[in-house]
C-alpha cells in the first residue's frame, strides 16, 4: 500500500512579472501530473469595448491595454485599419513608425533585462537589491530605458500611451533637429547596449531546449519590428490577412485566455525573442550581429533562459536602427496620409517586444467598428510555456517546494509574460500527493 500525503504550497505572487495569472502544479508519487498556467486576459474586454467606436479610435484605445508596449498595440491596430481602408503608410512615415517602435523595444527590453530577469541569474530577490549592491549596473539599465523613452517622447508625444500616433501616420512629425538632438544619447546607449550583451552572456543558464514551432514576422532585408509577413520554423509563410486561418484559438477549462495552436499541428508554437532571432538572425544590423556572435548565440536560440541574451542583442539592434533612421530622416511633407472609411475587414501584425501581436477590425461603410479581434503574444505562448514548465519541473521534482517555486518563477520570467497584456499578480500553487 502506498502511503499518500498531500501538501499544498501557495506563494503570495510571482513578482517581477508584468500582468496577472497563476500557476498550479500537481505532483504525485514522484511524477508531475498537471501543469496549469492560468492567465487573466484583457483583450476580450477591449474587443467588446471597441465595437461601435470609430475606425480612428483603436490606436488610442488599444494603447491602454499595456503600459509597457502601447506602440505595439497602436501599430498593429493602425495596420489593420489602414489595410481595411485600402490605405498604405510607407516611405518616411513608415520609417518614423519603425523608429517609434525601436524606442519601445529599447525601453521594454531594458526594463525586463535589468529589473525583472537579471536578478534571477545573480541571486537577488529583485531589482532593488541588485541596485543596492551594483548601482552602476542598474544605472546603465535605466540610462538605456531613458534612451528608449526619449525616442517615444520625441515622436509619440510621451512615453506612456503615446498621443501623437494616428491612423494614416501621426498628428505631427518632428523636425529633423528634434531627432538629431537624440543622437548623443543614442550613441551612449549603443555602448551601454553592447555592454549589456557582454554582461548577460556571462550568466549561468539552466539547461532547457524547446522544440516548439517558432513563429515570427519576416521583413527580408531587415530585422522585423513594425511590420512584415509571418514565417515559421516549420516552413509556413502567410500574411496577416490569413492569420486566423493559421492560428487557431481554443478555450481551455482552466483559463480565461484562449490557447493558440497552428492549424494542422497538434504541437505548440512559440513567438517572441527566441522565434524572432532564430528566424531572422541573418537580418540583424552589423553591431547587433557582432554582439550576438561574441555572446556565442549562433544562428538560433532555443533555450528560454538565454532569451535574456537575445533581448540584449535586440536592444543593440533597436538602438542601431534608431541611429540609422535618425541619420536618414527627412521630415515628411505631411504628417499623415488620408484614410477614408469603407465597409471592409483589415488585419495587422507587428512584433511587440514579447512577440507577434495580431489585430483584426471589421468596419461598416461609415467606419464604425462592428467586430474586433486582438491576439497578443502572451496568450499565444501560454500553451508552449505550460509544456516547457512540464519538462522543466519534471527534472526538478525532488526540490523542496520553496526552491521549486523560485525556479518556476525564474522560468516563467524568461518568457517575459505580459500577463497586463495578460497582470498584476501571478500566484503559484504546488500540490503534492
Amino acid at each position: 500500500m502506498t502511503h499518500r500525503r498531500e501538501r499544498t504550497l501557495t506563494t503570495a505572487g510571482i513578482a517581477r512579472v508584468e500582468g496577472e495569472g497563476s500557476l498550479y502544479l500537481r505532483l504525485s508519487d514522484g511524477h508531475l501530473d498537471e501543469v496549469r498556467l492560468n492567465i487573466y486576459e484583457p483583450p476580450r474586454f477591449f474587443e467588446a469595448f471597441l465595437r461601435g467606436r470609430s475606425y480612428t479610435e483603436p490606436p488610442d484605445i488599444t494603447a491602454r491595454i499595456c503600459g509597457i508596449c502601447p506602440v505595439a498595440y497602436q501599430t498593429s491596430s493602425a495596420l489593420a485599419i489602414e489595410a481595411a481602408c485600402g490605405a498604405r503608410v510607407d516611405g518616411p512615415l513608415a520609417s518614423l513608425r519603425r523608429l517609434l517602435y525601436c524606442g519601445e523595444w529599447i525601453a521594454s527590453h531594458s526594463l525586463h533585462i535589468y529589473l525583472l530577469h537579471a536578478p534571477d541569474f545573480l541571486g537577488y530577490p529583485g531589482g532593488i537589491e541588485l541596485a543596492r549592491d551594483q548601482r552602476a549596473v542598474i544605472e546603465r539599465g535605466l540610462a538605456l530605458r531613458r534612451a528608449g523613452n526619449a525616442i517615444m517622447e520625441a515622436i509619440g508625444g510621451r512615453a506612456i500611451h503615446p498621443v501623437n500616433f494616428r491612423i494614416g501616420g501621426f498628428y505631427s512629425v518632428p523636425a529633423k533637429e528634434d531627432l538629431d538632438r537624440l543622437a548623443g544619447q543614442l550613441q551612449a546607449a549603443l555602448d551601454d547596449a553592447v555592454e549589456t550583451v557582454r554582461w548577460v552572456a556571462g550568466f549561468d543558464f539552466p539547461d532547457l531546449t524547446v522544440d516548439h514551432e517558432l513563429l515570427a514576422l519576416s521583413q527580408p532585408g531587415s530585422y522585423p519590428i513594425e511590420s512584415g509577413s509571418l514565417v515559421s520554423s516549420g516552413g509556413r509563410a502567410f500574411s496577416a490577412a490569413d492569420f486566423e486561418e493559421h492560428v487557431i484559438e481554443e478555450q481551455v477549462p482552466h483559463s480565461t485566455a484562449l490557447h493558440a495552436r497552428l492549424a494542422g499541428s497538434e504541437g505548440t508554437y512559440l513567438t517572441g525573442p527566441l522565434a524572432r532571432y532564430t528566424l531572422n538572425s541573418r537580418w540583424l544590423p552589423p553591431l547587433a550581429a557582432a554582439a550576438a556572435a561574441d555572446a556565442g548565440l549562433g544562428d538560433s536560440c532555443r533555450n528560454p533562459f538565454r532569451s535574456i541574451i537575445v533581448r540584449a542583442v535586440e536592444v543593440v539592434c533597436a538602438v542601431e536602427e534608431a541611429i540609422r533612421l535618425i541619420e536618414g530622416y527627412q521630415r515628411p511633407p505631411l504628417p499623415s496620409v488620408a484614410v477614408a472609411p469603407r465597409a471592409a475587414t483589415g488585419h495587422g501584425v507587428s512584433e511587440a517586444p514579447r512577440g507577434v501581436l495580431y489585430q483584426r477590425y471589421d468596419l461598416d461603410a461609415e467606419g464604425i467598428i462592428v467586430g474586433a479581434r486582438i491576439i497578443p503574444p502572451t496568450s499565444q505562448n501560454q500553451a508552449a510555456i505550460e509544456r516547457d514548465l512540464r519538462q522543466f519541473v519534471q527534472a526538478r521534482l525532488e526540490l523542496p517546494d520553496e526552491q521549486l517555486a523560485a525556479d518556476c518563477e525564474h522560468a516563467i520570467r524568461s518568457y517575459d509574460p505580459c500577463i497586463s497584456c495578460a497582470t498584476h499578480f501571478l500566484d503559484l500553487q504546488v500540490e503534492r500527493t
Binding site: 505572487g13 513578482a15 517581477r16 512579472v17 508584468e18 500582468g19 496577472e20 484583457p42 474586454f45 477591449f46 469595448f49 491602454r64 503600459g67 509597457i68 526594463l111 529589473l115 525583472l116 529583485g126 531589482g127 532593488i128 541596485a131 543596492r132 548601482r135 542598474i138 544605472e139 535605466l142 530605458r145 531613458r146 523613452n149 512615453a159 506612456i160 500611451h161 497582470t423 498584476h424 499578480f425 501571478l426
Partner: protein, 151 residues
C-alpha cells in the same frame, strides 16, 4: 506635482486617474497633474526632481475594508513598503519608492494617498465603496496640494 496611478479600464484601479480629473481647475495651475501606469522607473524619473510629490493610487491587500482611505508620508529613511498600503500594481509604487530610495531619487517630500479597492477586473465602474470614497479622497489630496502650495 500630483500623480494618479492606475488605469481607468480596471474598475477600482482607476481611482488615481479619477482624482486627477477631479482636481483639474481646483488647484493652482503651477501644480502638475500627471497620470502613471505605475511602472516604477517612470514613476521614479517623474518625481525625482520634484520638491514635493503627491501620489494617488488604489490599494489592495491587507485587512482594511473597501473604501478605506490611507495617507502615508514617505521619508528618505523609512522603508516605504512597510508603511504604505500595498499598491494594486505588482511592479508598482512600493518598487518605485524603494528603487528611488536606493538610487537617491526620492522627491523632497512624498505623500501617498490610497483608497482600498475591492474590484480590479476589467470594466469602467468603481465598486460602491470606492465610488462613495472618491470625493473625500479628492478633498484630502486637494488639501495636501493647497497646503504644500502655500508653504
Amino acid at each position: 506635482m500630483v500623480i494618479g496611478v492606475g488605469t481607468e479600464f480596471r474598475c477600482d484601479d482607476g481611482a488615481g486617474p479619477a482624482v486627477i480629473q477631479r482636481l483639474r481647475g481646483t488647484v493652482p495651475a503651477s501644480v502638475e497633474l500627471l497620470y502613471s501606469d505605475g511602472e516604477p522607473t517612470r514613476l521614479m524619473e517623474t518625481w525625482m526632481d520634484a520638491g514635493a510629490a503627491v501620489v494617488v493610487d488604489a490599494a489592495s491587500g491587507g485587512d482594511a475594508p473597501p473604501g478605506t482611505l490611507h495617507r502615508v508620508v514617505v521619508g528618505p529613511g523609512q522603508p516605504g513598503s512597510a508603511a504604505a498600503p500595498a499598491s494594486s500594481h505588482g511592479l508598482g509604487l512600493s518598487t518605485a519608492i524603494e528603487l528611488s530610495r536606493v538610487l537617491s531619487r526620492l522627491p523632497g517630500l512624498l505623500i501617498l494617498h490610497g483608497v482600498q479597492g475591492e474590484v480590479f477586473g476589467y470594466g469602467r465602474t468603481f465598486s460602491p465603496a470606492v465610488a462613495a470614497a472618491i470625493d473625500e479622497l479628492t478633498a484630502r489630496v486637494r488639501a495636501d496640494v493647497l497646503s504644500l502650495s502655500a508653504s
